[in-house]
């Protein structure tokens, strides 16, 4: 049985990235390609195994020793990885809505400039995504836009923000 979900798509994309890097080294001078080839082969192997584990539960079961996570007691600790958590149906929607909003924000910066983009993007986020009041959305968005204008345009002279 094949399992296609966000997790397996993500590991497949890393695998494809490793493939494309290795493919790009074919035409390169051997010295230039050597180190990327060594690292790329490593990534190809690791991401390949990870992809197979994510796509096929049977493989995951067989390679369970790779899947096992060190617990907080067993590890030295360290910053970084948060362990997987169960998701409700709402979580992926929230994630894509949030990053959809970020993408729209980036597009607005490109088309109408940073300051106006901030005012519009924050207003949209607070009013329609966060479901806050009109007053809060308006004051907050204009306040932040004004703050960025004063600090970066007036203060630092970043005129390309306009």
């Amino acid at each position: 049985m094949i399992q296609i979900n966000e997790k397996s798509i993500f590991s497949t994309l890393i695998f494809l990235f490793a493939c494309s890097i290795l493919f790009a080294t074919i035409d390169m001078h051997s010295d230039v390609a050597l180190v990327p080839r060594i690292v790329g082969t490593g990534l190809l192997l690791f991401s390949g195994v990870q992809m197979l584990m994510d796509l096929f539960p049977a493989v995951r079961k067989r390679l369970s020793f790779l899947e096992s996570k060190l617990t907080a007691e067993e590890t030295f600790g360290g910053e970084g990885v948060v362990e997987e958590e169960a998701e409700t149906g709402k979580s992926p929607f929230e994630r894509y809505l949030f990053f959809g909003w970020v993408a729209a924000f980036v597009a607005l910066i490109f088309f109408i400039g940073m300051i106006w983009a901030i005012a519009i993007a924050i207003f949209v986020y607070l009013k329609w995504i966060n479901k806050d009041s009109w007053t809060l959305a308006l004051i907050y968005s204009l306040g932040i836009a004004l703050f960025i204008y004063l600090v970066f345009v007036v203060g630092f002279g970043f005129y390309y923000f306009l």
Partner: protein
């Protein structure tokens, strides 16, 4: 003490003004739950673009140092650590606050933080001459092995899955190879995208991975995390006295913090929990711990701050970042033409001393501001995360765009933000990827230089390289041995 010579350079009114602003920013960032020093530096790097290198050092180091102190305030007052390193502070800090001794706990935490930080930085200063001698013994194969060792240790010890930790490091290395190749000078792995000719922008990756990812986490907090907090600001002399009454505990914790900080990736949480554990084990009345023992707060906070000196040693001397925050700091310094590595202990030694002097002075500024304003700043925890998230995204994108006015940087920040969220969710290590991205060029350059100068034998015949190779193998095998050992135990 070399840093003393640079104190006058730090104590300039314009730099001090910047320091105060950065410390306040660091305290606020530290107070925000889950948002630590890494985010503080990531958000400030773009603002330092218009500053000279020394002013940038002041801004970045002051905010970084203050963030850990801010985190301890919320640990004590509302049982919510600002950062993972402050988690152990809550064990005894919060019970003390419940007993009406919040002022004492905060003062003890601030004083032990400052003195611990001071001791850690003095130890760093004293170790510079030794490190300088050591570093002169290093050649290309040794640097290659050291860089690989730095990556493997971090990949292996980041909490979670070792396999995906190594995978993340390999991914980061490949990203580091994007751009111009070091031998022929041609573009490599750019896939026809002109923006990638200069390589993957480290700052965009850092802001995306840390600021955007944290903003996403905050966006899902629809309730504020704290209610009404009532505590007096100012110094509680009982807190000051407590630090000196437990001076040996304080010294021992500083020692633990510093030496765990020197090992890449191991400091932080490990140092603070080790210091807490040792304090419990060596106490005559261990039953008091967890119920409001001031020793618990002193041990954790002094170890936390002493680790900064430890972290700075491999970061400055070898260019090997000891933690995620140090990787980001390296990114910020590189933006100003400062490359951490052997030259920081030779040619740029005064800059290193300036950096230490800045860290020392900022500790005192952070203590004063923390005691005077810290408890009032905890109001930020009353703001719900979903309201802070869009503001953090604005600062992140403004920062990315502000550096060079390139839309490519803004797009890269958003892309790496999304990637960071997925990596966090599926147990990949963002820290390993960042550190590999920083070290990638060193790995490739030192490999080619080793092959040209020594050949393959250089990696196996030079004592330092060989010792490091053994450490690499050991660090990769260790988690599996440890796992087996834990299973065997009844």
């Amino acid at each position: 003490m070399g840093f003393v010579s640079q104190l006058s350079a730090v104590l300039q009114w314009d730099l001090m003004l910047m320091m105060v602003g950065s410390v306040l920013f660091g305290l606020i960032i530290g107070i925000l739950p889950g948002v630590g020093g890494s985010v503080a530096i990531a958000l400030l790097i773009p603002i330092t673009f218009g500053l000279d290198p020394k002013a940038s050092i002041v801004v970045l180091l002051s905010a970084y140092g203050a963030s850990a102190m801010g985190g301890s305030l919320t640990s004590i007052l509302i049982n919510t650590p600002g950062d993972a390193v402050n988690a152990a502070t809550a064990f005894d800090g919060y019970p003390l606050a419940q007993q009406g001794k919040a002022g004492m706990a905060i003062t003890a935490s601030m004083v032990s933080s400052v003195l611990g930080g001071l001791l850690g930085l003095m130890a760093l200063d004293l170790m510079i001459p030794v490190s300088r001698k050591l570093i002169l013994m290093f050649s290309y194969p040794d640097f290659f092995m050291l860089a690989v060792f730095g990556m493997t240790v971090i990949a292996v010890i980041t909490r979670g899955n070792t396999f995906r930790g190594v995978l993340s490091a390999l991914f980061g290395l490949l990203l580091a190879f994007v751009g111009t190749d070091p031998i022929m000078g041609n573009d490599r792995f750019t896939f026809g995208i002109e923006y990638l000719w200069d390589g993957v922008d480290l700052l965009s990756v850092i802001i995306g991975f840390f600021a955007v990812t944290e903003a996403y986490t905050l966006s899902r907090q629809y309730e504020s995390i704290s209610g009404e907090i009532k505590v007096k600001s100012g110094i509680s002399w009982d807190g000051v006295k407590a630090v000196f009454q437990h001076f040996w505990l304080f010294l021992r914790s500083c020692f633990i913090g510093f030496y765990t900080g020197v090992i890449p990736g191991v400091g932080g949480i490990v140092g603070s929990f080790m210091a807490y554990g040792t304090a419990v084990q060596m106490s005559k009345s261990p039953e008091r711990f967890g119920k409001g023992a001031i020793e618990g707060v002193i041990a954790v906070e002094s170890a936390n701050e002493a680790r900064e000196g430890g972290h700075l040693l491999p970061t400055l001397a070898f260019g090997i970042p000891a933690s995620a925050s140090m990787a980001i700091l390296i990114g910020g310094l590189m933006m100003h033409g400062i490359s951490p590595g052997p030259e920081m202990l030779t040619k740029d030694i005064n800059l290193t001393y300036f950096l230490i002097a800045t860290a020392v002075v900022s500790k005192f500024v952070a203590m004063i501001l923390g005691l005077l304003l810290g408890t009032r700043m905890v109001f930020v925890t009353k703001i719900r995360g979903s309201l802070m998230a869009p503001a953090i995204i604005v600062i992140a994108l403004v920062g990315a765009y502000g550096v060079g006015g390139k839309m490519g940087d803004v797009i890269a920040t958003a892309v790496f933000g999304f990637l960071g969220v997925l990596m966090q969710k599926y147990g990949y290590s963002r820290v390993s990827l960042i550190i590999a991205l920083v070290l990638g060029k060193l790995v490739e350059a030192s490999y080619h230089q080793s092959m040209t100068t020594f050949g393959v034998s250089g990696f196996f015949t030079r004592p330092i390289a060989l010792a490091l190779l053994l450490l690499i193998v050991g660090s990769l095998v260790w988690p599996f041995i440890r796992k087996k050992k834990v299973r065997v135990k009844p």
